[in-house]
Amino acid sequence: MKKLVVAFGLLLNFNAFAEYGVNMTEGVTSVSRDIYGLHMMVFWVSVAIAIVVFGAMFYSLYAHRQSKGAVAANFHESTKAELVWTVVPIIILIGMAVPASKVLIDLEDTTKAEMSIKITGHQWKWQYDYPKEGISFISNLSQDSRDAVNGTDAGRENADNYLLNVDKRLVLPVDTSIRFLITSNDVIHNWWVRDFGVKQDANPGFINDAWAKIDKIGTYRGQCAELCGKDHGFMPIVVDVVSKADYKKWVVKQQAAKAAVVASATKTWSKADLMAKGETVYNANCAACHQKTGLGLPPVFPAMKGSKIANGPVADHINIVLHGKGAMPVFKILNDVDLAAVMTYERNAFGNTGSVVQPSDVKSAR
């Protein structure tokens, strides 16, 4: 009921709509601004045509009705009129096609790029690779949003940017021409950040490209825009655009963290540490299908609890996680520590009684 009141309140107060968004926004790249310009131009042309056509129609509906004593005329043809309303629309269309073509040619030209980011869609998360910098990570829907989906209204309001937040953000430098190389590992996804004017299909086995030169520091959010299965609605995109100096610092930090992970992969981990890390990795990467409870969604997504693989030999377990099988995706993209942790967790949580997996086991199985 409260919502109903709010809804009708909104209808009365047009200004309030701004907050809720009734229109496209200009965005922060030259492309997104051009698109916005085209959108508004076609919109206003449509409004103008609508006023003329609907104006004539409603005048006629008012004036030419039998109840007002209108007597029907008998005209039913006019070559002149037909010519006018064929030629005039063609001229209007050409007027729209010219600027549209210019924008299209510009936004398809990715040759100006100063750096490249490779984006890979997975069911249901994004992987970002910085080929030159050697950085690679997975970006999942953040845990508080995930928990709030089946939770309470208050839970959703308290969640940070409900459904539009991730655990690890893509970080990009401002004022830099960036080329996005977009592909997929399984089904077709679509990487869409509205403020950049970038929306491009991620096709498995093919690479598409798009570009953006972002001219404003800030956080930008987007979503997958191509139906990609069960959790299509739960794979958001968050991009932090930072100054060039901050970007350089971030890159150095990431590279150091990566080196630390490689180093830690050689040591032997305690079971408790693996279990703690494994739970986080499990909830981010596995729970969408196998569920947080480990009960899965049979018959498509089997249960972890009592699973033959989670309670069986380590080699089989590593094999299916690394290489996938059927609906089970390939998880080679995770590092050795994360994989060892998540498998240890799977083998010892939910009442399972499997052995501990060490990062070195994963490394040698790769």
Binding site: A7, V22, A72, A73, A100, I188, F206, G229, H232, G233
Partner: protein, 532 residues
């Protein structure tokens, strides 16, 4: 016409077997209409489920996978089960009467093409009860989500699509054969009513497009079961090729669902304006142009697949061209109203709101056709709003308009005009509450086919769902009005609408079971022609 004697011997059979064995175009037309209406209610129930889940943020009623099953089946049932069969039903009922023919050219095939449908629909709906659930990959079933990653029930879906395709192709062949061979000898092509013209052209679209769909699902079938890799890049295939094949069917399909609607409206507006249709021949040429263009614009559904820029430019220009013949039609309808003497019985209300709301769908279509702008519209609720404006307030609107317009001829009785007006205003207001806010949602960035959304989209989704429930409920009233007409309607006259023209109005108030056993004369055809 001295048909009384014949009727005595060839009246309808009694009981259930009449409907199973019938080869009569009127019986089969009725079967199609009731089947389509049933499917409309089922597909509508799915839509209610979708809107109920989207009423507020969070998942309250269903799992995401089931939500995807609902959106998929809603689309498939509405397109293949409701809209297309309803138009074939109208074609069956009306075309023989409109061209002065005694029946369809191929009556036994006509029986078959109908009776395939309940089985195809049944197979499709039964997938809900299979292990793994119904298809959940959207009505556009893009590979590889529909091949490698699809539930086992997909093979039943493929079989159902094949059956639906058979039925449509046979229906199209029948209509072409009827119009070209069974037309009254004295009737020239340019004497034909526009509903006949639009259906004739639609039939050619069906014959061209449905086999392509059959090809697409056959490739899916072999990809899924026989180790081929048409759409699998790891085997040298290409998932984007699926989209090319699908939309080479899919775009003509869109016009299959709208051209007969143009025909219906071109009958109703002149009748209630009491003025001849403006620009008969330009209407015919515009229909043919739209049909031709529909075959060369398919990739405008695929601007984001990574097409080369030259391809995008071509498909953008070709798409924009469609606005020209469509515009001609709208201008002609408005000119038909101009300086007429209008009254606003239910069919006219539906027809006028068709012109208004379909044109809104046309404007958003023009916006979507601008390739760079499509980057921001693609796969958002803006698209959902667009195609519901053209398919619900376009195609479905014309079917409801046609039902009220020809119901007296089908039943010999009048419907309750007062209730019909109440129903109209109820439906037309609620449908806009349902779909108009979806434009805003799309522009504000809400993707389509998601079961849950971020909080900024909550208010418009709430409004849209309330509109949806109200619109859904309006069909209860529609059902009552139609049944009430059949059971208790007051007797109608042979020509219940003052300004109506067309051979069907020269028949008895309830069109006799066998009509036009002798073809109409030239004089009669000229008197009833739209092209006067």
């Amino acid at each position: 016409m001295t048909t009384t004697h014949d009727e005595h011997h060839h009246g309808p059979e009694k009981g259930l077997m009449r409907w199973i064995k019938t080869t009569n175009h009127k019986d089969i037309g009725s079967l199609y209409m009731w089947f389509a209406f049933t499917m409309l209610l089922i597909g509508g129930a799915f839509a209610m489920g979708i809107r109920a889940e989207l009423l507020q943020p969070g998942l309250q009623l269903m799992e995401p996978q089931f939500f995807n099953q609902l959106t998929t089946m809603h689309g498939l049932i509405m397109v293949f089960g409701a809209i297309m069969p309803a138009f074939v039903g109208l074609g069956n009922w009306l075309i023989p009467m409109m061209v002065g023919a005694p029946d369809m050219a191929l009556p036994r095939m006509n029986n078959w093409s109908f009776w395939i449908l309940p089985f195809a629909g049944g197979i499709l709906l039964s997938t809900f009860f299979m292990e793994g659930g119904a298809p959940a990959f959207g009505w556009t079933f893009y590979a590889p989500l529909s091949t490698t990653f699809a539930p086992d029930s997909t093979d039943f879906f493929i079989f159902a699509v094949h059956l639906l395709g058979f039925s449509s192709i046979m229906g199209a062949i029948n209509i072409i054969a009827t119009v070209l061979n069974m037309r009254a000898p004295e009737m020239k092509l340019m004497d034909m009513p526009l509903f006949v013209w639009t259906w004739l052209i639609t039939s050619f679209l069906l014959i061209g497009a449905m086999p392509v769909l059959a090809g697409a699902v056959t490739m899916m079938l072999t990809d899924r079961n026989f180790g081929t890799a048409f759409f699998d890049a790891t085997g040298g295939g290409d998932p984007v090729m699926f989209q090319h094949i699908f939309w080479f069917f899919g775009h003509p399909e869109v016009y299959i669902m709208i051209l007969p609607a143009f025909g219906v409206v071109s009958h109703i507006i002149p009748t209630f304006a009491r003025k001849p249709l403006f620009g008969y021949s330009s209407m015919v040429y515009a229909t043919a142009s739209i049909a031709f263009l529909s075959y060369i614009v398919w990739a405008h559904h695929m601007f984001l697949t990574g097409m080369p820029v030259a391809g995008e430019l071509y498909f953008m220009y070709a798409t924009m061209l469609i606005a020209v013949p469509t515009g001609v039609k709208v201008f002609n309808w408005v000119s038909t109203m101009w300086r007429g003497s209008m009254t606003f019985e239910a069919p006219m209300l539906w027809a006028i709101s068709f012109v208004f709301l379909f044109t809104i769908g046309g404007f958003s279509g023009l916006m979507l056709g601008i390739a760079p702008a499509d980057i921001q519209y693609h796969d958002t609720y803006f698209v959902v709003a667009h195609f519901h404006y053209v398919l619900v307030t376009g195609a479905l609107w014309s079917i409801i308009a046609a039902t009220f317009y020809w119901l007296p001829k089908w039943t010999g009785k009048m419907y309750n005009e007062k209730l019909a007006k109440v129903h109209f205003w109820w439906a037309v207001i609620s449908v806009n509450v349902l779909f108009f806010p979806q434009h805003f949602l799309g522009l504000a960035g809400m993707p389509r086919r998601i079961p849950d959304y971020s909080l900024q989209f909550a208010d418009f989704n709430f409004i849209s769902s309330i509109g949806g429930f109200a619109f859904g409920a309006s069909f209860i009233l529609l059902t009552y009005i139609v049944i009430d007409c059949i059971r208790n309607g007051k007797p109608a006259s042979a020509r219940p609408w003052e300004g109506a023209k067309g051979l069907e109005w020269t028949l008895e108030p309830k069109a006799q079971y066998h009509s036009f056993n002798t073809p109409p004369s030239r004089k009669l055809i000229e008197a009833e022609s739209q092209n006067s």
